[in-house]
Symmetry: C2
Subunit: 318 residues, 2 copies
């Protein structure tokens, strides 16, 4: 990586991303729920990324990264390694650009996830289910094809793309005093910080995967080891580029227990009729936690619901 790649992007990069992805991405709705307002003690505005293409905010970042390539770069295709939403996001973005996509997937990935990626016309390359195998395999394919690697979060185009969700939310609800996003690798959180200007941005993080919280308190990036949480989109460590934005930009990170996450998810489903995955519920769980509830002001708070890819036959409260 060259130094110039580490020039941290700003709000204008989010504006550029918004224009770049506008022909391809959904402008997702914002939903309110008076029952949850009462629980939170303030007005909440839910940005519904479960209605985004591929069912998660991930399409925004992948689309921005793929559409930002030159024609010459794009013609060699795109590559990533992922078993989740990012794989589908890159596959769909490449298909829309009309270029090849190579998705390295661990052999443990479910057939549903494989089928979704293949359905977008991507080539799936199998590998052993270890991070080292994924990275090695991806590097081999990249060397062979010249394809552009799209990282799931540690990439400034991806970060700026994820920020377009918060950009739309503050456009629609200018009165927002604060925004709250979940943090895993930090793409969504960093993008939200870039998009929100002077507004306070908070993060929710599972206590069982709290590297962002510990990094913030230590003042230096600490990797996550042995994460354990129902919020399976938030297992990963914060990326270096993400950290460069989150460290100076986040107001605070609120850790939540597994019980708080499941309670918040059930509230979102039963009271607000919002079908979201556990990772999305982490942001609401943070807002309902005593340490956030007791914050003065913040009458109007935006919450980014990250996605809705959940197995409806295996719900955490069943």
């Amino acid at each position: 990586m060259t130094e110039s790649e580490f020039l941290v992007p700003g709000v204008s990069d989010v504006a550029q991303a918004a224009a770049r992805i506008a022909p391809w991405a959904h402008r997702t709705p914002v939903v309110t729920c008076s029952a949850l307002d009462e629980r939170a003690g303030r007005r909440l505005y839910f940005k519904c990324e479960q209605f985004q293409k591929v069912g998660a905010f991930k399409f925004r970042g992948a689309c921005n990264a793929v559409m930002a390539l030159t024609d010459e770069e794009a013609s060699r295709g795109c590559i990533t390694h992922s078993s989740g939403n990012h794989a589908q996001a890159v596959a769909l973005a490449a298909a829309l650009r009309g270029v090849p996509a190579y998705i390295v997937m661990p052999s443990t990935a479910t057939s549903v996830k494989r089928a979704a990626v293949v359905g977008y016309g991507a080539e799936v390359i199998d590998c052993e289910p270890t991070l080292i195998a994924r990275e090695t395999t991806a590097a081999e394919v990249r060397d062979r094809t010249g394809a552009h690697f799209v990282h799931p979060y540690d990439d400034f185009h991806v970060i700026a793309g994820q920020g377009t969700a918060a950009r739309e939310l503050v456009e629609e609800v200018p009165a927002l005093a604060a925004l709250v996003a979940p943090v895993g690798g930090g793409g969504l959180l960093a993008g939200t910080i870039l998009a929100c200007g002077d507004r306070a941005v908070f993060a929710g993080e599972p206590a069982g995967a709290d590297d962002a919280y510990r990094s913030l308190k230590a003042g230096t990036l600490i990797p996550q080891t042995a994460p354990r949480t129902v919020a399976d989109g938030l297992l990963t460590s914060v990326g270096r580029r993400n950290w460069a934005i989150i460290h100076p930009g986040v107001q605070d990170i609120v850790r939540v227990s597994e019980a708080q996450i499941v309670d918040a998810m059930e509230l979102l489903w039963t009271r607000a009729k919002l079908l979201v995955e556990a990772s999305s519920a982490v942001a609401l769980a943070a807002v309902l936690a005593p340490e956030f509830r007791d914050l003065p002001g913040l009458d109007d708070v935006g919450i980014i619901l990250s996605g809705g890819n959940v197995d409806v036959r295996r719900l955490p409260w069943a």
Copy 2:
């Protein structure tokens, strides 16, 4: 009932209803899903009444009926008999108007439903779980209090109020060639017909509660007896006022099996991330049925999703 009450309302009544409920009701979002478009062979636009107050379109009609009362009428309060969404809708509308609400509920109603109604400040009056007991008890309370009876569907203010959902949908997607709604008592379907002008309006109906279909084919209103369907919002017979609008106005009624309903519900949950009750899925099931799929034209079709009040611990596919 006087003859003048049977002057069937028109599109201007829906416009009046829209203005009347605007300060109180949500303008619900419209969501699209390319995976479901593919299944249907056309573009679908889902009007999301699960995000309406009380989690269902029922608030629109009840709110219109309650807000249309004179101050003198309203001061004596409102009454209805219901164990479902309509009870909550009347209770909330009366609370917003600042007048009493009397809700006659069968003793078999769940404690959750009772608590919701009481939570809106309504007075719950228990009765035996039979239609005759509900009607008798409601008549007694009405005679004692002078409260205005708000019927769940056989009421022109209720019908016009329900039509505001379709009105918003065609405002937002003017290209719609047809709209599809589920039919039970017929409030939502009749309101949709009033709101849609020259557009074709279709209904979906469970084969296990197909009085509207049989009435349409016979040319005369036939009551439902012994209904059996997972779509528990559609058990009731079509009302007389509803029939007066549906009979000349509906393009066709598509009957769907229990398996088609559950399949459509699971598709809405898993592909579109729309948390809706089985009654809502009936409209999508109709659109996916061969007899609708084979209709020419109709490139853009609107579907009214009626609500999201469902027990997430007892799902029909579990």
